[in-house]
Symmetry: C2
Subunit: 356 residues, 2 copies
């Protein structure tokens, strides 16, 4: 049976990326060795990581002020590593609390300096994105999560401010073009739109670094990673390679503009279907809805279990909402075909016709 | 041409591990999804990580006092994470300086407490392992690197002490049986004897944890990882799976006893050949020689380049010594067949016959 992979992350990857990754595990580029057994300082791998760094700069149209790194870990590592590098003892950072991950990021930052939560949508269960809030001038940076995977909201416009913007883009990186040069630092765990779990993308404006007096452990120091061309220690070689394959695929398919066109098409189909069926209820403010993760509920909670069971029978993976939120979550990352969203919508209509 | 992979890490893996890993990238266990696109909280992956944790306990014959974790990053991450968890402000840790990695570990620890280098073989370029040194009773722990990948030395007996022993086993984990219960904490980057780069194995005696007053960032906190069964955040899924495949292979081949028998056989062949050929010089004290990494030099330095060129022509990968040491390094990890060592020795003899 055909599987429809709506996983929130790790999530669906393009079939050709998987095919090429599998081939490289057996024999990388015909050299007679696996990608898993080549040295990270060999020209074979240096070429991989350099092409990946360069493709990130190209796809995001980053100016020369930016450096691109591939680092160990996921976004949770960056919750710690960002303030380690940017927030000195006694300084204050502004954080937006628009979901579980942003809130966790703020908590970690409080170990390194003062945290000022300048915007929070907790009053309405994180079902909207704050707008027009004040950012105190003494803020070292403003941290926000561009897409809230768990709650199904997404920033569609960003604050215009002189305070350096720091963004966790783990769940919507490479899904839409924007002026990425408005951010001073961007990070993203790879396992949604960029590849396999185990590697972080880090994009940083060099001028924000080197201002901290507190010593930074070498493995956490962005500056030292930049000096080492993202090869300070053995990187997660395979995850970097899968990221390269995914970046090549994005470019070949038409870049971020095309990714956005597909995302809009999938999200429009999904949300218009849900909105047309009274058996579903969505709490997220419409203008803040995420194009990546649609979060909604069965209007009659007793219908949730049979609906999830039906999804399972039809090969639909990962549609159960996050454990703290419940309900349904349909994740529509770059690699998810429109056909999968169509199949879900058909099933939803069929369920509504029988049970509505 | 057949390649002989003497890489120091990432390094050679068993062919059947590579074949199974490649298959899982296409379709994991026949479920119709890639290992790269399944959720880390799915029963599919929970089974993987639980089997891997359990195989580590079995192969190392660990008592119930120990927990096994798979964490993001490599040994360099642990250089920071170990003192974060074990060394409080003002406390002192004892470190052995027997090579470049141990020395780096000590440097990172000094950011968290006092470091007392209780043993150093720096006086002779780290060509031996210290013995019979004193460990002050106030030491929070004693850190040592069981195998020095760069310098080619290995600990064959360990200090008997009441001070908790902490060991970086990155380059000889699973290569020999020993009483692992003599250590309070063991860590190892996976990319030598255990799989692909991007994951750390951590073995820890629970009783040494929870004694630090300084707050620990959540992603660095061993205790929180234990509470979450090594699934606090998205782990490096593929690297954990490759570790599981490698652990299964080790068990099937006969466990650590058989790995040691093979290592001894390979190392004896290599060292006896080198010792018999005057064109080679080895500076490492014989009783401290590493079974994993043989480090030696051409007696006449001008012969190094032609010898390395010959190795390259014959498909021998990774035999150039570490950049700070130079010379030749032959790494003989678990997956390296005896045939590759034989091929290297034959080539060495052939070179000696012509140039000796």
């Amino acid at each position: 049976m055909k599987k429809h992979n709506f996983n929130s992350g790790p999530s669906i990857l393009p079939q050709e990326v998987l095919a090429k990754a599998a081939r490289a595990v057996l024999d990388f580029n015909g050299i007679g060795l696996s990608i898993l057994e080549i040295g990270h300082r060999s020209s074979w791998f240096v070429d991989v990581i350099e092409e990946a760094r360069s493709l990130v700069k190209e796809l995001m149209q980053l100016s020369d002020e930016y450096e691109v790194l591939f680092l160990h870990g996921g976004a949770t590592t960056q919750f710690m590593q960002v303030p380690m590098n940017l927030l000195d003892d006694g300084e204050t950072a502004a954080y937006c609390d628009n979901g579980i991950w942003g809130s966790k990021a703020a908590k970690e930052a409080s170990l390194f300096g003062n945290v000022n939560v300048v915007a929070s949508s907790k009053d309405k269960d994180h079902t909207y994105i704050n707008k027009g809030f004040a950012i105190p001038a003494n803020s070292k940076y403003l941290h926000l999560t561009t897409n809230n995977t768990v709650e199904g909201t997404q920033w569609h416009r960003f604050p215009v401010t002189d305070i350096p913007l720091v963004a966790d883009m783990s769940s919507d990186i490479f899904s839409r073009p924007m002026n990425f040069n408005q951010f001073s630092l961007i990070y993203a765990g790879a396992q949604k739109n960029m590849g396999a779990a185990g590697v972080n993308l880090l994009v940083v404006k060099k001028t924000v670094l080197g201002k901290i007096k507190r010593p930074i452990p070498v493995i956490m120091d962005y500056k030292k990673h930049i000096d080492a061309n993202s090869l300070m220690n053995t990187p997660p070689v395979f995850a970097v390679y899968v990221a390269l394959l995914t970046l090549r695929w994005i470019k070949k398919e038409g870049g971020l503009k095309e990714m956005e066109r597909r995302s809009n098409e999938k999200a429009n189909l999904l949300y218009s279907t849900i909105d047309s069926l009274p058996i579903f209820t969505s709490h997220v403010v419409k203008e803040d809805r995420s194009n990546m993760n649609a979060v909604f509920f069965l209007t009659h909670p007793e219908q949730e279990a049979p609906f999830l069971e039906l999804c399972k029978q039809e090969g639909m993976i990962g549609v159960k909402g996050y454990r703290t939120v419940g309900g349904i979550r349909v994740s529509m990352y770059n690699a998810l075909p429109l056909e999968s969203v169509q199949a879900f919508c058909d099933l939803a209509k069929q369920f509504a016709a029988k049970r509505g």
